[in-house]
């Protein structure tokens, strides 16, 4: 496989997201880059991947192109099951979703995410500095998917010690069994994919840990872009850059209209 030399930050996120997905598993696909990553996985190493969309489609082949919404008509064609939101989330709460892809504007060291508001909480909750879209299905996926994959652009303003608002709970305060004690299900955040690295969570402390860095980054450069102290895995490797073929598939086959993967 020839390595690509002109891939973008979003493209490497997509490739990393795809590679984390395992074949024949069920992935609850959030809107945006996760849709591109799931489609790439399905077209490469994971043809048996089973996508579930919160608007209700279960197991579509996704042969009519990239959906631009998780309720898009393209998610339903050829699916095995189609209900509504309650049906999709009930299945997730039951344990049918092996992976869930979630994102946010802010993340903390335990993988908690914010996609609700920026500002002082709770004082300015009703008049926030910046109002974000809100949870959508992210909070539910966080509470009930077996493992979650987080996507957050790497930037000091986004990797914070304390979030403005916890929309999608991760490992909470990192204490042992915190999720179980809070009544949630699943093992919580599994990987964080950023524009600089792939991170996981330390087994004992549940703190975010650098697992692989993207080409051109160092452990130090990743830490420097992070607003809290990161742990570092024993053997940090460099993530293979996307291949020319992967980049071509993203640009030509999957998202030719740049619905989510912008070229600029």
């Amino acid at each position: 496989m020839t390595v690509s030399t002109d891939y973008t930050a979003q493209e490497i996120i997509v490739v990393a997201g795809a590679k984390i997905l395992e074949d024949k598993k069920v992935v609850f696909v959030g809107t945006g880059l996760p849709m591109v990553a799931s489609l790439l996985a399905k077209l490469t190493h994971a043809p048996g991947l089973i996508p579930v969309f919160e608007a209700g489609a279960v197991g579509p082949p996704l042969k009519v192109g990239l959906p631009i919404s998780v309720g898009d008509s393209k998610t339903f064609t050829g699916a095995s099951f189609v209900g509504g939101l309650n049906a999709a989330f009930e299945m997730t709460q039951r344990g049918f979703a092996d992976f869930g892809f979630i994102g946010g504007a802010e993340v903390d060291m335990y993988g908690n995410l914010n996609s609700t508001m920026m500002g002082n909480f709770p004082e300015t909750y009703q008049k926030p500095a910046v109002r974000l879209p809100g949870s959508g299905g992210a909070s539910d996926m966080a509470a009930s998917c077996e493992r979650t994959i987080l996507i957050v652009p790497h930037d000091k303003r986004r990797f914070n010690e304390k979030l403005s608002y916890v929309t999608s709970p991760g490992h909470l305060d990192g204490s042992p069994n915190a999720r179980f004690k809070a009544g949630m299900q699943g093992k919580g955040p599994y990987r964080v994919i950023t524009t600089k690295a792939i991170l996981d969570f330390d087994k004992d402390t549940n703190r975010m840990r650098i697992l692989q860095i993207f080409p051109g980054e160092t452990v130090e450069s990743v830490q420097a872009a992070t607003g809290f102290e990161l742990l570092v895995a024993p053997h940090v490797s460099v993530f293979d850059p996307p291949t020319k073929e992967e980049v071509r598939m993203i640009r030509e086959d999957i998202d030719p209209d740049q619905a989510f993967v912008k070229r600029a």
């Binding site: 608007a55 192109g65 393209k74 109002r131 909070s139 916890v166």
Partner: protein, 338 residues
């Protein structure tokens, strides 16, 4: 936000919702009327309005246009994820809160996925002009479901561990069977549901294609339901496959045939998104969000909503070739013989 953590019912309490339904004429009668009549008859100032569809899919756009023309005060809007429908209502409030105003929203997501954030939501929220109660998609869907089931609450895992618990009327209890925490969400019983579907008969039996979203739950939970449909069909055609019916006539008060009723959003089997028009509308609102200049947004409303008699006139403004292209795009998603 302190008020959200105290318990009170927005819309109807479960007992009020029950009483209204018990006393309602649930007979199988012809419910066709104009959209103007339906909006005037079934929506009032101060109502909690449940909005169907999902983000920009099968949203009740034609109904929101008519609501804007009519004008309403102090509405509470409830939905899971929505885009253009609350945008149209919120844009009207930005232009003239004396003509149209939203008091409160209860929802999970107000934005547009690939089409970006909602400038209207940012405008109203960042100025503190509306009360907000954040929930998740499943939370809102389950709240409507509880309302549709005649229950005062429903348990979910959804908001556990999140600040949604703190900014909403969620109550967390220890499960009496497992001793682990579980969230109880208060039912949502809106005063009126606004729903767009692919097909309906004159009694209100509705066929939905693609995602059911939370439309059946919203309709069953609400005191009244206004349905627009792409296609009004004979009851006999519907009754041949009753399992295709997702909302039974019992839950519906008004049925109006409105082709392109979710446009510029998408409607499975009928048309795909008109992203250009969505962006054009947002650009107008974004200008006002950034510097307060309402000219572009006012022009958009004057041209497309206030300046027309009905939704058909709005649709008629689009170039025929664009409408055909959006129908064609959907036919690729969903190939079928005419």
């Amino acid at each position: 936000m302190e008020t959200n953590t105290e318990m009170y019912w927005t819309g109807l309490s479960p007992d009020e919702a029950r009483e209204l339904l018990v006393n309602k004429d649930k007979s199988m009668k012809d419910k066709r009327m104009t959209l103007k009549q339906a909006v005037a008859q079934f929506i009032k100032n101060g109502d909690n309005v449940g909005i169907g569809g999902f983000v920009n899919i099968r949203q009740p756009i034609a109904i929101t246009h008519e609501m804007v023309r009519h004008g309403f005060k102090d509405l509470t809007l409830s939905w899971q994820s929505a885009g253009m429908a609350p945008d149209y209502l919120a844009g009207a409030m930005m232009l003239d809160p004396n003509h149209f105003s939203i008091k409160r929203v209860e929802m999970a997501y107000w934005a547009h996925e690939a089409f970006g954030l909602s400038p209207m939501f940012r405008y109203l929220a960042e100025r503190g002009m509306i009360e907000i109660e954040d929930w998740s998609n499943y939370n809102m869907s389950a709240r409507f479901k509880a309302g549709a089931m005649g229950l005062p609450f429903i348990p979910t895992r959804g908001p556990l561990g999140s600040d949604i618990v703190k900014t909403s009327r969620t109550k967390v209890i220890d499960c009496p069977f497992t001793s682990r925490p579980i969230a109880l969400l208060p039912a949502s019983n809106p005063d009126v549901a606004i729903i767009h579907v692919q097909a309906a008969d004159m009694y209100g039996n509705c066929i939905i294609r693609g995602t059911d979203a939370t439309c059946a739950e919203i309709a069953m939970a609400s005191a009244h339901t206004i349905v627009t449909c792409e296609q009004l069909v004979e009851h006999e055609l519907v009754a041949r496959n009753p399992k295709d019916v997702k909302i039974p006539f019992l839950a519906v008060d008004a049925v109006i045939e409105v082709p392109f009723g979710s446009y510029p959003g998408a409607c499975r089997r009928h048309y795909y998104f008109n992203g250009e028009h969505i962006r054009q509308f947002h650009a107008a609102a974004n200008a006002m969000r950034k510097d307060g200049s309402s000219a572009l947004l006012q022009a958009y409303y004057d041209e497309n909503i206030f300046g027309v008699e009905c939704f058909e006139d709005y649709i008629a403004k689009f170039p025929v070739k664009k409408l055909l292209a959006d129908q064609k795009a959907e036919s690729f998603n969903c190939e079928r013989l005419a």
